[in-house]
């Protein structure tokens, strides 16, 4: 056991140590701004300006109160919840039925329709900003949370349909046959058979589309003119509007907007990674 290590083994060990340190630094670099945001939101303004990275010595939740006042973050939070939940519910239902149809049945124009949906992924959504604004204003449907949710659902469709279709294609045919033999109809196949089987992919669609809707900025900015309808990302822009910026309330505002996302990430990070990889690589 007293054998001395060979030179190559020592250099290998040093190399591995270096790799470990390097990746650890990178992880720190990715996490730190978020952690910094959260703990800075609990400091008072003078101690923040004195030492930007110092940990808080006492907790100042008053930053949250002034964030709510400046940015109307409470109203914005409710709006974000309403819009995101509606968008996710609409998207998951619509994408489920369409995805299963694409995966299981034949009809004329199917390939064209599917290609059309998939090509939706290539379109830069900002190009749709003006026409959708004009379109909705024409029918005075801007300043409407439900319509904004539908816009988000529409943008989520291509990826969601793709995910559901590739999943539903793997479900064995015998299951459908058994339902038909038992006298069930197509609705039964969809909602009593495919729906429970598709739970894993539907939960992926739910999580990913929630993140997208919660974080969306440009369409909310343009379509929601009324202050009482603004979502969280828009409310954040109120903090810099004034002549002087208060940093710690702003950090509190950013934390309010980010905490739900971070919690969802903590709970479902495996699913989020898998879903995003599948959606982008094969898309």
């Amino acid at each position: 056991m007293n054998k001395t290590y060979g030179v190559t083994q020592i250099s290998k060990k040093i190399l591995m140590l270096l790799v470990n340190v390097l990746i650890a630094l990178l992880s720190l670099f990715c996490l730190f701004p978020v952690v910094w945001m959260i703990y800075s939101s609990l400091k008072d303004e003078p101690s923040f300006l004195r030492n930007l990275i110092g940990l808080p010595t006492s907790f100042h939740f008053s930053n949250y109160l002034s964030a709510i006042k400046t940015g109307k973050m409470d109203v914005a939070f409710v709006n974000s919840v309403l819009v995101s939940v509606t968008a996710v519910a609409a998207l998951v239902f619509i994408a489920f039925v369409a995805g299963v149809v694409f995966a299981r049945y034949q009809f004329r124009g199917k390939t064209i329709l599917y290609t059309m949906f998939l090509s939706g992924m290539l379109i830069p959504v900002h190009s749709l900003l003006i026409p959708i604004f004009v379109e909705l204003k024409l029918f005075t449907l801007n300043n409407n949370r439900f319509i904004l949710a539908l816009v988000y659902a529409a943008f989520g469709l291509p990826k969601a349909i793709f995910l559901v279709t590739s999943f539903a294609a793997t479900i064995p045919r015998e299951i459908e046959e058994a339902v038909i033999i038992d006298g069930g109809n197509t609705h039964d196949i969809f909602f009593k058979v495919f729906l429970p089987i598709s739970k894993p992919i539907l939960s992926t669609v739910i999580i990913l589309s929630f993140l997208d809707a919660w974080n969306e900025f440009p369409f909310s900015l343009v379509l929601m003119g009324k202050p009482e309808l603004k979502t969280l990302p828009i409310a954040l822009t109120y903090f810099t509007g004034q002549h002087s910026v208060q940093y710690t309330p702003m950090m509190a505002g950013l934390t309010i907007a980010t905490l739900p996302v971070v919690i969802v990430y903590f709970l479902f990070h495996k699913k989020i990674m898998e879903g995003m990889v599948a959606g982008s690589v094969k898309g």
Binding site: I53, P218, P233, K282
Partner: protein, 298 residues
């Protein structure tokens, strides 16, 4: 497939199931594209008066120096994202897959985290980091004695684009790391083992096995990064809103400013259609360069 007829539902049922998704797509994607192309032919500020210009807006677009600047910035961003985002992500992914690394899943968790953040939040965080007087970056430089490096990062015309690139690479590098890690995990272990028997070291393995075996993933990542960079909007809107002057202007920002700040919906649409055309052309070029592009359904 003898049972296919029994399983095939009535046409009406299929129509019912497809109806909501098709309507949603038509109303919020297909029709708006056609509308954008239509508006791009007019001089129109949102009111009743619309003056038909034909291709007039487009000939103006070709001579528009701000549009040229914006596209150039988009290209710079795209190039940086391909080199730094995809390139570094590949290296990091191979390091994460190497045997000696501890806490693998923690590192993936940490590096991927910025991907789920709102681009607006990322923009604000980095705006505070870059702030001249109260910014984290200048604070850190000061505390390690590099005062000479301190500068007004995002107010400096010459370096503002470089500063903008960092948060964008920072936010999405994790996506590419995870994409590459999952591609590398699909390489059969036996190939590495037999290479090791033949005396291949880590770097040789990366070059001669990992790189060629993940080539398809690399291609897709490049396309993803390029098309992603053509859409950049929120980071710019929050950090610089295109300034100082037009130093950090990008296509989406210019289209937004022209249409919603200056109320020129006609020319704004022309800019949007222009960006869309350039973006689709870039993706097409990438596909041609890489030969067979993405896998398709069926």
């Amino acid at each position: 497939m003898a049972n296919n007829k029994v399983l095939q539902p009535k046409k009406r049922t299929l129509f019912l199931y497809m109806f909501p998704s098709v309507v949603l797509f038509l109303v919020f994607t297909a029709i708006p594209i056609i509308m954008a192309i239509y508006y791009s032919l007019f001089n129109w500020s949102g009111g009743k008066k619309k003056i038909f210009l034909g291709l007039g807006n487009y000939s103006r677009l070709l001579g528009d120096s701000i549009f040229g600047k914006a596209l150039l910035n988009n290209f710079i961003l795209a190039a940086c994202c391909v080199v730094f985002q995809v390139g570094i992500a590949f290296i990091i992914a191979s390091l994460i897959c190497s045997k000696g690394l501890k806490l693998k899943s923690f590192h993936q968790f940490a590096i991927f985290m910025p991907v789920v953040l709102a681009p607006v939040v990322v923009g604000f965080l980095w705006k505070i980091i870059y702030n001249q007087d109260y910014g984290l970056l200048n604070f850190l430089l000061h505390s390690v004695g590099l005062e000479s490096w301190i500068r007004p990062w995002i107010d400096d015309v010459d370096i503002v684009m470089k500063c903008i690139t960092v948060p964008i690479v920072w936010q999405w590098i994790g996506l590419y790391v995870v994409i590459f890690v999952s591609a590398m995990k699909n390489i059969p272990e036996e190939i590495f083992e037999s290479a090791a028997l033949d005396g291949a070291g880590g770097i040789k393995k990366a070059f001669f096995i990992t790189w060629p075996m993940t080539m398809d993933t690399v291609k897709i990542s490049v396309i993803l990064a390029v098309s992603g960079c053509m859409k950049i909007f929120e980071h710019i809107y929050i950090i610089t809103s295109g300034g100082p002057g037009t130093a950090s202007m990008v296509g989406a920002m210019y289209a937004y400013k022209t249409s919603f700040i200056k109320q020129r919906f006609g020319y704004g649409s022309t800019i949007s259609v222009g960006i869309m055309a350039v973006s689709l052309t870039l993706v097409l070029i990438c596909n041609v360069i890489f030969g067979k592009g993405k896998k398709k359904y069926e």
